[in-house]
């Protein structure tokens, strides 16, 4: 692969950022309809980094994972990679209302930690599915998903490390910060894709830009 094929140009980055923006916007609209969740998304950030730089980047964004939980879900297609949704630990209890408006389950013999974890996994699954699916759709692809997995606290960097060490030496990082307005819950969504998708990605971006040039 030539040097120019290894990098995204500024225009390609800008286009990808706009594609993410549109994809997340559509996903947010779907989420609002499906689970009555109004989502505020930040301007997405995109970078092409070496694997170890991705971990450093995430560490700078979230220096302390003591109180964080993470849901990961891998996806495959022409657009393939992993998604990492990081929430402050304990936010699952607030989000439980999405599925159990009266919080009636709390009065029964359910373990609250398990309920919280299951809620985060389910919310994570819905958000990741909506966001990744819409971005893939914008890029003319369809992806399939592995089941979501839950990691807490000190497991977070170990998991990220093992994922990134087994992927290509470079990774394309997508990040957005989201906020569920009515639940006062914020978190991060990172998508990490392998360097090997770059030729397809460049072609898909060119096709997106085609009608406007």
């Amino acid at each position: 692969m030539t040097d120019s094929a290894r990098e995204l140009t500024e225009l390609e980055k800008d286009a990808l950022q706009e594609i993410m923006n549109i994809g997340f916007g559509r996903a947010a609209a779907d989420l609002a309809e499906i689970i009555n969740l109004h989502v505020i998304l930040s301007v997405p950030h995109i970078a092409v980094l070496q694997s170890d730089e991705v971990i450093r980047y995430v560490q700078e964004e979230i220096p302390d994972t003591t109180d964080m939980s993470m849901i990961t879900q891998f996806f495959s297609g022409k657009f393939s990679g992993g998604s990492f949704l990081v929430f402050p630990h304990g936010e699952g209890r607030k989000l439980l209302k999405i599925f159990d408006g009266e919080m009636s389950l709390l009065g029964e013999n359910y373990d609250i930690d398990i309920l919280e974890k299951e809620t985060l996994v389910e919310v994570g699954n819905i958000i990741i599915g909506a966001c990744v699916g819409k971005i893939a759709e914008m890029l003319g692809d369809v992806v399939t998903y592995a089941p979501p997995r839950f990691f807490s606290q000190e497991q977070i960097y170990g998991t990220l490390g093992s994922v990134l060490n087994t992927s290509d030496s470079f990774a394309i990082l997508f990040k957005t910060v989201f906020n569920f307005e009515q639940y006062n819950v914020s978190g991060y969504l990172f998508l990490v894709s392998q360097y090997s998708i770059m030729p397809w990605l460049k072609q898909a971006i060119a096709e997106f830009l085609g009608p406007y040039e």
């Binding site: 706009e18 549109i22 559509r26 609002a32 109004h38």
Partner: protein, 124 residues
């Protein structure tokens, strides 16, 4: 012919919107990349219509819409956004946006809203 202001942090988004505006109509276009630029440009350029993105770093489109409508309660602002949640659309409509067009812009939708807004002498 109209003066049209385009505010979006994304060069690609500005480019795609410009591609939807008929070139032979003689419109005068100016563009900016965030809400604070929008406010400055609004006062110097005095656009007939503004296309405004919502999600921007720095001052976002909601704050810019509010500020512009405070400066000029008759300002005509079309929101061009990826955030098509019902509550977002309700919010910008309450703040006086003339229309909401979803991204990516489609020529027919842009021209239809532009024609409607420009034909309507009475502002929102």
């Amino acid at each position: 012919m109209a003066r049209i202001m385009i505010i979006d942090d994304s060069l690609v988004a500005r480019m795609s919107l410009k591609a939807c505006i008929p070139k032979d109509a003689g419109h005068e276009l100016k563009e900016g990349n965030d809400g604070s630029v929008a406010i400055e440009l609004y006062q110097s350029f005095k656009p007939d219509v503004t296309f405004m993105d919502l999600t921007m770093p720095g001052m976002d489109g909601i704050a810019a819409l509010e500020a512009i409508r405070r400066l000029d309660p008759a300002a005509r602002v079309i929101i061009l956004t990826a955030d098509i949640q019902r509550r977002t659309i309700e919010r910008v409509t309450e703040l006086g946006a003339c229309a909401v067009v979803k991204k990516p812009p489609v020529k027919e939708a842009v021209i239809a809203e532009l024609d409607k807004v420009l034909a309507d002498g009475t502002k929102p």
